[in-house]
């Protein structure tokens, strides 16, 4: 059982506290001794920096950031991409799809897909973003409604990495990619 952190904090401040047994433990326990040392370091540094001034930037800095972001001058936020996806393999040789990716007025990345293929009556069509260098890594976007798909793409997904759009033929109820890709193509060109 290690020493209570608050007792170590008191000791680090040079105060008395704890029992004889506590102090004996701290002296002999590597973990507690290291923790005490760390807290002492914080105390020493805190004494030094107690009067250090942390000052606010002028409000104009935030105004500049806000207007820069709103104008999307960074370029990356104003994605506008159109891609043609080709059929995969012999089975889907005549399939194709068109995809567009736009940033809407709320900053959401909206992906639309229209699939042109001779589709079976069974199952579903599901869209995936596949990692450029490692096809085992993929995120699903969702299921197409007939020939059409419309999704927002979370900003957490880095489209420079998850750059390949793939639409697969799926059976109901399965969560994994079936391996039966209908069309596939690069959504965001390599930089």
């Amino acid at each position: 059982m290690h020493t209570d952190p608050e007792l170590l904090a008191l000791l680090a401040l040079g105060e008395e506290g704890g029992t004889e047994a506590d102090r004996a433990h701290v002296a002999s326990c590597r973990v507690c001794a290291a923790e005490l040392e760390e807290l002492r370091h914080v105390v020493v540094l805190a004494r030094e920096v107690a009067d250090e001034a942390i000052s606010d930037p002028d409000p104009r800095v935030w105004d500049a950031i806000r207007s820069e972001i709103r104008n999307g001058t960074d370029g990356r936020d104003e994605l506008s991409v159109r891609t043609h996806l080709r059929g995969v393999g012999e089975t889907w040789a005549r399939a194709s799809a068109d995809a567009s990716l736009e940033t809407d007025e709320h900053g959401r990345r909206v992906l639309q897909v229209t699939l042109d293929a001779d589709l079976p009556d069974s199952g579903l069509r599901q869209a995936w973003l596949v990692h450029r260098d490692d096809p085992r890594q993929r995120q699903t976007l969702g299921v197409l409604d007939g020939r059409h798909g419309l999704w927002t793409v979370a900003h957490a997904i880095d489209l420079t990495q998850f750059a390949i759009l793939d639409i697969s033929q799926q059976s109901f109820g399965s969560t994994e990619h079936s391996g039966d890709s209908i069309v596939r193509g690069e959504l965001v060109p390599a930089a």
Partner: protein, 183 residues
């Protein structure tokens, strides 16, 4: 801002930032811009340059938000890294090319200098973000006022003063450690 008290800078705000919520950026700016600005001001000694660094860092925070990986570093460690890189560029008076997301940068001499300063300012910043009353008491103790004297001045019991100071210090150390990852 810079008033004591906790602005929400926890995982939920960082998560919202990653999802492209501009309000989250504004909250993170409120919480962290004084640190970035002060670090740049102390390093560069020039208000306009420090404002420029602050602007670039938070704009980059927005444009690179998808590349922040909470498993790899804490948010504030990432922020300080971005700030030190921008400061390093200006110190060298050279390139202003943006840093690629997730790229590992070699720290120049100037940058490692600002890392050491960053560590100190982070602690000052976290100290200033403890709740007002515990902060006041901890500052007194750091200023070598004895807990007994504080108890007398404030009417708190000696035990309460000690336990409050101890818990403030533990809190400070945890936040600093999480923020810094730097020692």
């Amino acid at each position: 801002m810079a008033a004591a008290g906790r602005v929400d800078d926890g995982p939920s705000v960082v998560e919202a930032l990653r999802d492209g919520d501009a309000h989250a950026l504004s909250e993170l700016y409120d919480r962290w811009s004084p640190l970035v600005y002060s670090l740049a001001l102390r390093s560069l000694g020039d208000v306009a340059a420090a404002e420029d660094v602050t602007k670039r860092v938070f704009t980059q925070l927005w444009t690179s938000r998808g590349s922040f990986d909470p498993a790899r570093s804490s948010f504030s460690a990432w922020l300080v890294e971005l700030a030190c890189a921008r400061i390093g560029e200006l110190e060298q008076g050279g390139s202003t090319a943006p840093v690629g997301p997730g790229s590992v940068e070699k720290l120049s001499e100037g940058e490692s200098g600002s890392m050491a300063l960053a560590e100190r300012l982070l602690l000052a910043d976290e100290l200033g973000h403890l709740d007002p009353e515990p902060q006041r008491v901890l500052r007194l103790v750091l200023d070598d006022v004895s807990p007994a004297e504080i108890a007398e001045r404030t009417g708190m019991s000696l035990e309460d003063v000690k336990s409050q100071v101890a818990s403030s210090l533990v809190q400070l150390r945890q936040r600093w450690e999480v923020a810094g990852d730097a020692h």
